[in-house]
């Protein structure tokens, strides 16, 4: 019995290296079949792109981007891509340009309507406008017949009160944030 076991061990030791070399040299293949069902649905998608004349958007190319104006004032220097089209006794306006691209697939629509609305309350001393249309909490039409699959530039204005923080003006020296919600609807 013991002799038989030793014979099996020797045989196993001899067989194992051979099996290993076979395993190394043989091609491993597998096959399978997927039955895929595709339902073609029409859709549009909205993305923000950095405009060459504006600030560089964080998240450019996506549907959730950030435009940072940096430090702004009525008379001081501004960041690249930010302009100051007007300064009056009551307000000053800083502007940047951003692009909206609405991508269309599977639709017969020839254009889209773009609306925008402020999310939440407006920061003290600020007003926001896109293409000179003042934004509120209700959706405002920015463009009635936008072209698909192309960057469409829009002016984003921050109209800022010149009043001091204690007189209704914006808080100074602190970062102010505001979210604008956009909706594109196929015409």
């Amino acid at each position: 019995m013991l002799r038989t076991h030793n014979a099996i061990r020797i045989l196993a030791l001899l067989v194992l290296p051979v099996a290993a070399s076979v395993a190394l040299s043989a091609q491993t293949t597998a096959s399978g079949t997927i039955n895929a069902t595709l339902i073609n649905k029409s859709a549009i998608a909205l993305v923000f792109d950095t405009d060459p004349g504006g600030v560089t958007l964080v998240g450019s190319g996506t549907g959730a981007a950030t435009a940072n104006f940096g430090t702004v004032s009525a008379f001081g220097p501004l960041s690249a891509g930010v302009t100051r089209p007007s300064v009056t006794a009551a307000t000053f306006t800083v502007r940047t340009i951003f692009d909206v691209q609405v991508i269309e697939g599977g639709l017969n629509s020839t254009g889209y309507t773009l609306t925008a609305a402020l999310q939440g309350g407006t920061p003290k001393g600020f007003n926001f406008a896109i293409d000179a249309i003042t934004l509120t909490g209700a959706a405002q039409t920015i463009q009635a017949n936008g072209s698909y699959n192309a960057d469409v530039p829009h002016n984003l204005d921050l109209i800022i009160s010149t009043a001091s923080p204690t007189a209704g003006g914006p808080n100074t020296g602190t970062l102010t944030s505001q979210t604008i919600n956009f909706t594109a609807t196929a015409n």
Binding site: S42, A43, I44, A45, L46, V47, F48, G63, A64, A65, T66, A67, N68, F69, G70, T71, V72, S73, A74, F75, G76, A89, F92, V94, F98, V100, V102, L107, S109, Q119, G125, F128, L156, L158, I160, S161, T162, A163, S164, P165, T166, A167, G169, P170, N171, T172, G173, T174, L175, T176, S177, Q178, T179, I180, N181, F182, T183, A184, T185, A186
Partner: protein, 176 residues
């Protein structure tokens, strides 16, 4: 069979308005950030009693006295006084400093010559200004108002006729 066909047809007809009214939309969110800083701005304005400034309403103006002399005619807006050895010509010049997003009550105005002048004496608002250091013109300037700080040059009688006198006065307003 016929009944089933009719039911299917009715279902399709009922779906048509729903399909027609469905809106295809896409949404996106743009976050906007900015930090507002207070700022002040200084401009020169022509004073009604003084020489009309070139560049009035800006922060880079020119005051041209024209031809001046101890006893001859002087241009409109130029006021002259004489002593035994010198004559002084002066003109009213308005300085207007505006502020934004600031609770500052007033401003300090300083002036300094751009280049040394060993011959003539320069004054702004009655304060002698040189290129050595900025002279305080006012420590309590009022914002958003034209404040007249006359610019005066005192010229010795020994100055040769035809001599051009030119210099730059740099003004600095600082919010208090």
């Amino acid at each position: 069979m016929k009944k089933l066909t009719l039911i299917a047809l009715a279902a399709v007809i009922m779906m048509i308005p729903a399909l027609a009214s469905a809106q295809v939309t896409a949404t996106g969110t743009l976050s906007v950030t900015a930090t507002v800083n207070g700022s002040i701005n200084l401009i020169f304005n022509s004073d009604a009693a003084g020489v009309a400034l070139t560049g009035s309403g800006t922060n880079a103006a020119t005051l041209a006295f024209g031809n001046v002399s101890a006893f001859g005619a002087v241009a409109a807006g130029v006021v002259r006084t004489t002593t035994a050895t010198t004559f002084t010509v002066s003109s009213a010049v308005d300085v207007n400093v505006s502020k934004t997003n600031s609770a500052s009550a007033n401003y300090t105005l300083k002036a300094q010559l751009g280049a040394a002048d060993a011959t003539n004496t320069w004054q702004v608002g009655g304060n002698t200004v040189t290129n050595a250091a900025a002279a305080t013109i006012t420590a309590t300037g009022a914002y958003a108002a034209n404040s007249n700080f006359p610019v005066a040059i005192t010229v010795p009688f020994t100055t040769a006729s035809g001599t051009v006198i030119s210099n730059t006065i740099n003004y600095t307003a600082t919010a208090n």
